[in-house]
């Protein structure tokens, strides 16, 4: 009987300790989740600095928290601090190599850092694993275009537009890349495709104006630049159009 009581007492102590440890773990996790939730809400409200503070607190409680590191990277990117953003996305990939969103965001950040070869390597890696990723093809096109490879950019934007025919930016960027290669017919056709999807696209009218100028059709060029000027929200684009219209008229 005595022996039974001792065993029961030891059992109770063991269960109590386990329960306490479990409760501690539960509240620890709750605290981290609360910080994460606040950090994400602050990110969406545009308060990136406070959001970083929340993710820092979450990381101080669990340094291998991939999601906190990833979300903090988004904050750094939003603040234009691309180097720490890239570092956070890299750390995520060290902790969780198959975390594709971190890889994709690292690629976008490399574009922002003008590390275009690195960006292309990353997007190629994503395309190899997910050949129908419309966003990887689009960003691969951006990287190629920005590094002066207009031909390769055309191919990538073409795939993006083929995968998702309603993708206005893919049509427009393909038109821009075609223009750069000197293929005015293709550039014109893609510009028309972009404008068919969005007839308020000022940049596309600007590009159409440039195509018409190259074709020697000053009247249609002037009309396109006038439409671009009317639609442009960006004062720089508006001013450019006004300058060009004045030059055509001169």
């Amino acid at each position: 009987m005595k022996r039974f009581l001792v065993i029961a007492l030891i059992g109770c102590i063991a269960l109590g300790s386990a329960g306490a440890a479990s409760a501690e773990g539960f509240f620890h996790r709750l605290r981290i989740d609360s910080l994460m939730s606040d950090g994400i809400a602050l990110y969406h409200s545009g308060d990136y600095t406070q959001s970083i503070n929340r993710f820092n607190d979450a990381l101080s409680l669990s340094s291998d928290n991939v999601e906190a590191r990833y979300d903090r990277g988004l904050d750094y990117y939003a603040l234009g601090q691309y180097k720490p953003a890239a570092e956070d996305f890299r750390q995520c990939l060290k902790l969780q190599p198959d975390f594709v969103p971190a890889l994709f965001n690292l690629g976008v950040t490399q574009i922002a850092l003008n590390q275009l070869d690195d960006a292309k390597t990353i997007f190629q890696q994503i395309i190899d694993a997910h050949p129908s990723s419309v966003r990887a093809h689009f960003d691969m096109g951006l990287s190629a275009y920005m590094s002066g490879q207009a031909d390769k950019a055309v191919d990538q934007f073409a795939v993006a537009a083929l995968l998702h025919p309603q993708y206005v930016q893919a049509h427009y960027d393909k038109a821009l890349a075609e223009y750069k290669t000197g293929n005015l017919v293709a550039a014109d056709s893609e510009t028309a495709a972009a404008l068919k999807l969005n007839n308020g696209y000022a940049k596309a009218y600007f590009l159409r104006g440039a195509i018409r100028l190259r074709q020697g059709n000053n009247n249609e060029a002037k009309a396109a630049f006038e439409t671009a000027a009317k639609l442009a929200g960006d004062p720089v684009l508006k001013s450019l159009c006004t300058q060009i219209i004045a030059q055509i008229g001169a």
Binding site: D33, D71, S132, G209, I244
Partner: protein, 122 residues
């Protein structure tokens, strides 16, 4: 005698005024002649092509949904985030693969049930 001297002075003064006037006019004309050559404005095509070649703003990016959304409590799940990357189509920043909609932020996040999470749902 006195009148002769005065007449000569007047004549020389008049010549000086004429010479100065001609010189000033010539300088002004020459100055004007060189100014337009230096400030020759670029042609319309030149301005347009320069803008297309150098202005990053004329290259369209995915501005509103450039990066994949935040993941974790209050954000999207890792699976949804992966879906945003790998989807073959997109609609307004949301991915739409094979008719299945998902992605976008503000999605409810459910922690997986298990000992690590205590099965708690948010």
């Amino acid at each position: 005698m006195n009148n002769d001297w005065m007449a000569r002075v007047r004549l020389r003064a008049a010549r000086l005024v004429i010479v100065l006037a001609v010189f000033a006019a010539a300088s002004a004309t020459l100055g004007h002649a060189t100014a337009p050559a230096n400030a020759s404005p670029p042609g319309a095509l030149e301005v347009a092509e320069h803008a297309l070649a150098t202005s990053p703003a004329l290259l369209a990016d995915e501005s509103p949904y450039e990066l994949i959304d935040p993941v974790g409590p209050g954000g999207i799940t890792q699976k949804q985030a992966e879906g945003e990357v790998t989807a073959s189509t997109m609609t307004g920043g949301l991915y739409n693969d094979n008719g299945h909609f998902g992605g976008g932020y503000g999605q409810p996040y459910f922690m997986p049930a298990g000992p690590e999470y205590g099965g708690m749902l948010r």
